[in-house]
Symmetry: C2
Subunit: 391 residues, 2 copies
Amino acid sequence: MISVNEAKQIIRENATTTRVVEIPLNEAAGYVLAVPVYAPIDTPPFNQSAMDGYAFSFAKWDKYSDFTIVGEGKAGDDVTFEVKPLEAVRIFTGAVLPKGADTVVMQEKITTQGESIRIHDEQLIKGCNVRPRASQTKKDETVLPENHYLSPSSVSFVAGLGIDKVKVYDYPRVSIIVTGNELIKPGQKRTGGEIYESNSYGLMAALNQIHITPKSVEMVADDEEKLTEAISRQLDSDIILLTAGVSVGDYDFVIPALEKCGVQKLFHKIKQKPGKPLYFGKRQNALVFGLPGNPASALTCFYEYVTEAISAFIKRKINRDYILTLAASYTKKPDFNYFLKGKCKGNEVAILNHQESYMMNSFALADCLIELEAGKEYFQKGEKVKVRMII
Amino acid sequence: MISVNEAKQIIRENATTTRVVEIPLNEAAGYVLAVPVYAPIDTPPFNQSAMDGYAFSFAKWDKYSDFTIVGEGKAGDDVTFEVKPLEAVRIFTGAVLPKGADTVVMQEKITTQGESIRIHDEQLIKGCNVRPRASQTKKDETVLPENHYLSPSSVSFVAGLGIDKVKVYDYPRVSIIVTGNELIKPGQKRTGGEIYESNSYGLMAALNQIHITPKSVEMVADDEEKLTEAISRQLDSDIILLTAGVSVGDYDFVIPALEKCGVQKLFHKIKQKPGKPLYFGKRQNALVFGLPGNPASALTCFYEYVTEAISAFIKRKINRDYILTLAASYTKKPDFNYFLKGKCKGNEVAILNHQESYMMNSFALADCLIELEAGKEYFQKGEKVKVRMII
């Protein structure tokens, strides 16, 4: 058995694959840039009015003379004419500033006298209410670096440059294989020793939260041959998640089936509760997680370990981790790292009841996992603890 | 002009519609329950072995005698036989405990003597390694309340009850209409006074982050008739987002078009920077936001106001808000509430450069919006400020 930190280290060392894809910009939010973005144009692409008003040349104005209105420019117009000294153009927000003009006075700050206008604006200085060409981006300069996370505002920014495709780190292809003779699908009638299969639901939901749809979800009986077939069909995945059958009992066929498929074991069993039997292996670029069968253990191992592999693939951190204050004291077995279902309130975190690995009722109410590290038995109320948000 | 708080209050008072839908459980993560979930079965549905080992009746054991092995039960088996005193059954994790048995000894804690086993486990007590029937849920009891947020662990829990459909608050149908003669789509060649349309990209991405796909996205010219037609086609939406054309200039047709469509104005203009011209109206159940045309203003108003309406519809908070420490002092106009692009580092938040409402380059790098409230001019380094996370 290895420690939690050793296990995470092994995952990080082996999660070295990424895949770069070019995708439409309107699907790119949440991805990370695989190459920098260069500005193909100046933005704004021209000197642009920031207001509805009148554009003119400030330098040629004596602060007293009126202006003759010689034209109009609204957003979208291809303004080609030029204003001369003491000429002004009626202009609207977003419009091209005519040649010769460098300043816009707001329409609220003028009075009209027939064909001419008089300016009443003490604060007006050269360049007022104008967005100069290239004041946001200059053509050909790097505007977003490689590894930049594409937030909605990044997507809007990139669209404004006229770019409609971006190269990003793709999401991994994930396969889910749940195993167990006892499993039936929710919605069916249960009899005898059957129980409802819930692990694929929890894992799909957790993947869905990070915008990943698994490429396949299968339910396979405790049968080495069938398992071997199912695994071998998914070896083109980036990540394979199996649940149950990872102990060394008479009916635990996951590990022998993985061996038959040529998957190399990288670790098996961690000093933790829940999730002690966690298995991790690799075959070429496919990373394989043998998650425990208990739903709370499976999902805990997803949040603590599978996310490490996904993070490495998509080049961004998935979890929000905090240091919070423990609301009540807790005693645990000293040799094991505990991951406990918790609920945050302000800067405090409470350990929920029903921590057993088959109990999902507390997990359903939890908003975080609290990590109580190995090597320590007693955790006192008020102590600072590591917390990983799961909602 | 009204204050930020007044505007948010008006949105909350008018965002009173919800829609309940029944959806498949494997699509339900992220939704909120519209009705409580009742357990249709006991879980576990039977006394269940938590280990690979041997099941027997503890009370009838004198602590010294050996047990005769009379059968085997593995997960999924319909175990119908009964064990008698000093009989044991070979049992595996997840299996039904045979009638007469109440305790499981782990396989590591026995020695075999031909057909019988001897137990070597000082700590063994009655009920060890058994998950009693109904110890997680009892049939017909409420296990999740109305308004419960369906996290992945909740979904797993509900699946384990055998439930494959849930009634939840649906996401709103959102329509996006971007307006402006100057707009062309990214990817096309730009000339003259044209600029690239970016608002629909930013808004779609922000909606996508909360798992909403807009029902329609349209680009409409500054033409009152065309706008009126476009809006009237979308009046069956729950939320309509328009961008630009909400000022009172000669080419701002959004507000007259909304009036023609029977949309009732609830507010127009807020004492804030950016986003002063924000409009909010309603027609029957459709909530209408007239967002400013500047991309930074439009997206800021989305995060600060549109999310209020979406939150009310889906019955959950969308944003994570924190109180953080300002990294440097800042002076602003006292009458206005400012929303500034910021970047968090630990408990500190820095105000980014380029806060102008047409500047998306800073927004692209921001991870939060910092709110500096109206009625105050100077904000000192080290002061606590409100922060809304946007990534």
